[in-house]
Amino acid sequence: MTETLKIYAAIILSLWGLALILLAYDVLREFFFRKTSRPLAVIYHVLTLIGFGLIVTYTLSLWIHLQRPPMRTTGETRLWYSLFGILVSYSIFLVWKYKALLGGGLFFGILFLAINLSNPEALSNTLAPALQSNWFIPHVIVYILAYAILGMSWFVAVIALITRKNPRWGGKEFSIADNLVHIGFGFLTLGLVFGAFWAKEAWGHYWTWDPKETWAMITWMAYLLYIHYRLVHKKDNTQALWILVIAFVLLIVCWFGINYIAVGENSVHTYSTN
């Protein structure tokens, strides 16, 4: 299966890589010369979508091959992140006509797939009894969706921080970021509560301040802070953008940074690597 991943990943990476280059060219041309090209846009749309089709196919075949949902290891969650990163950014791109966001999606998709390609992990098909729950799939899916959406909000915040001094800055970023955070926060809440319901059935209690739970709460509170901060500071606001940047850093710690800090040693969530 590792060989199959290499082939799939190589094809998807070239498709998305090319799409990203064409998109970047299109965005820069629009920014500086106010010109866009329709045929060019059609090409990167198609490249993105073929790549998306392939990653969905690969993920499903992995699911069938392992006879369990491929959601147990960090590498497997990265695969879902690539998938949802593209899905989310493409959908939002269609709604908001904001090309940079598709660029962000492609960038994250490529990054996470490339990490998987460079660190192939052995795929074990066993699943501990406590993980065999109906909550497993919804819990992981809503979380990865939330991560993908909030990752996009981070990307938008970074773009805004870089370009906001430029007179050509459109200022679209704030409303996009706000929407992304509201939607992403909704999914984050679902993940938190689904996790609590699951824990109650499997481990006897819904919340034990396990390190992963603590960090999930930290992330949740950070986005909650952003939402309320924006209610008071409605105009363009650099601090709000910084809150968004930091919140995503906290999210990354929650996702896989925990494996590297001392408190995370005894977590039931520490992804198995053996």
Partner: protein, 410 residues
């Protein structure tokens, strides 16, 4: 921004960030100092005192929302800026919790005295929670007079979170988690709490009738003969009868697999008896086909040794202990009222008796299939339905957020 903070003197006019920061910061320091001076941790309040505290808290919020609704202080306390400070304070405390390793036993070092290595039972965390609950509760009470879809969503989100945190906090003292080790010899009627202390009679007794485990096919790996180390591998090889697999340059064919076997003179026979172990007859072939080696391998059990297959002079093929797919205890429950009944326990499928929920948690992992005991946990959580009511509201509120996003600025 509302008001003009630059021109306003602190503690005068309509309060804002500066007052909120001063008060939350002051409470934070007070909490730390209190913990240091009292030399004791916060303990959860039990029934019925927690109910009185809760009602008193609700009364204060309701009272201020009715009689001081127009006052500047109430508007500030329930306002957005104060909410931001309450969230930030809570966030700072749990971020500390995310970094500082926590201790389970009291200690004399400064970090512990200041409350940073027992954050969950520190005074300042209690204050931060109460402050957040107050801010949330007041804004909920303040918004209860308007009826619109948007306001309803606001209320569900805020009241849902409030109810969840409120019930978790108040219910903490009534939560009981008891570990019990049950066996086939006699019914056990007491267990051990979180501090490993015996609980005394729990009002029910449990006896183990039968314990069973279902295993995944065991995995195989290759050991360096001289050092005894496992070779790194990027694939997993499961020993399933009739299947082929590959690991570290060897093609492995599992010709026969016995889940319960006993060995005799290099042979394994299917025997279902205490201490029986999994065994597999494998044919290993190097990828270039130059070396072929075959024979029995087994991971052994607590009673018998395992067995390796020598591939070359330096390498051995070994079987790993199989991983449990599921395990189950058949139990007999005796209640104080004289009821006796049988039940089946497995992970994720608890059984309810007399207000207790019984969970399957573990077994004697050394003995595995032949475990003579089963470890269960009894949980009593009388506030659970209130917590779930809050959480369900949060789920509904989350759906609203996902569907609407953030509306364009009003």
């Amino acid at each position: 921004m509302t008001g003009n903070p630059e021109n306003r003197r602190m503690w005068s006019g309509v309060w804002g960030y500066r007052e909120s920061i001063s008060i939350t910061g002051g409470l934070f320091l007070t909490g730390i100092a209190l913990g240091y001076a009292l030399k004791r941790e916060v303990t959860a309040v039990q029934w019925p005192a927690n109910l009185f505290f809760g009602l008193f808290f609700i009364l204060i919020i309701g009272f201020s929302a009715v009689f001081f609704r127009k006052s500047d202080t109430f508007r500030w306390l329930s306002g957005k800026k104060n909410a931001i400070c309450a969230i930030a304070w809570y966030l700072i405390v749990i971020t500390l919790l995310g970094f500082v390793p926590q201790k389970t036993e009291p200690s004399e070092d400064l970090l512990y005295r200041l409350g940073f290595s027992h954050i969950l039972s520190s005074h300042y965390f209690l204050f931060a929670q109460v402050y957040l609950l107050m801010s949330l509760g007041m804004v909920t009470a303040r918004r209860m007079n308007k009826l619109s879809v948007r306001n309803l969503a606001f209320l569900i989100n805020h009241f849902g979170l409030w109810l969840t945190l409120f019930a978790i906090g108040l219910g903490a003292g009534d939560l009981q988690r008891v570990r019990m080790i049950i066996n086939k010899e006699y019914p056990v009627y007491e267990g051990y709490d979180e501090h490993q202390e015996a609980t005394g009679d729990l009002g029910l007794a449990i006896q183990l009738l039968d314990f069973s485990i279902d295993f995944y096919p065991p995995k195989a790996y290759i050991i360096e003969g001289s050092s005894g180390e496992v070779l790194e591998h990027d694939t997993y090889l499961s020993l399933k009868e009739g299947e082929y697999g590959e690991i570290n340059g060897w093609k492995i064919h599992t010709k026969k697999y016995l889940e319960y076997a006993l060995g005799m003179e290099e042979q394994y026979f299917p025997v279902y008896e205490t201490g029986a172990m999994p065994a597999a007859y494998v044919v290993a072939e190097s990828l270039d086909g130059s070396i072929i080696s075959e024979g029995w391998i087994s991971c052994g059990s607590y009673r018998f040794h395992g067995r390796y297959l020598e591939l070359t002079k330096g390498q051995l093929l070994a079987m790993a202990q199989p991983e449990a797919k599921s395990y189950r205890s058949e139990i007999k429950i005796y209640t104080q009222e004289g009821d006796i009944f049988d039940a089946g326990l497995s992970v994720g499928k608890p059984v309810s008796v007399n207000g207790w929920k019984i969970y399957q948690t573990s077994y004697d992992t050394e003995r595995g299939r032949w475990s003579e005991i089963s470890i269960v946990e009894l949980v009593k959580d009388p506030w659970i339905s209130v917590v779930y009511a809050g959480m369900i509201m949060m789920v509904l509120g989350a759906f609203y957020l996902i569907i609407t996003g953030k509306r364009k600025q009003e």
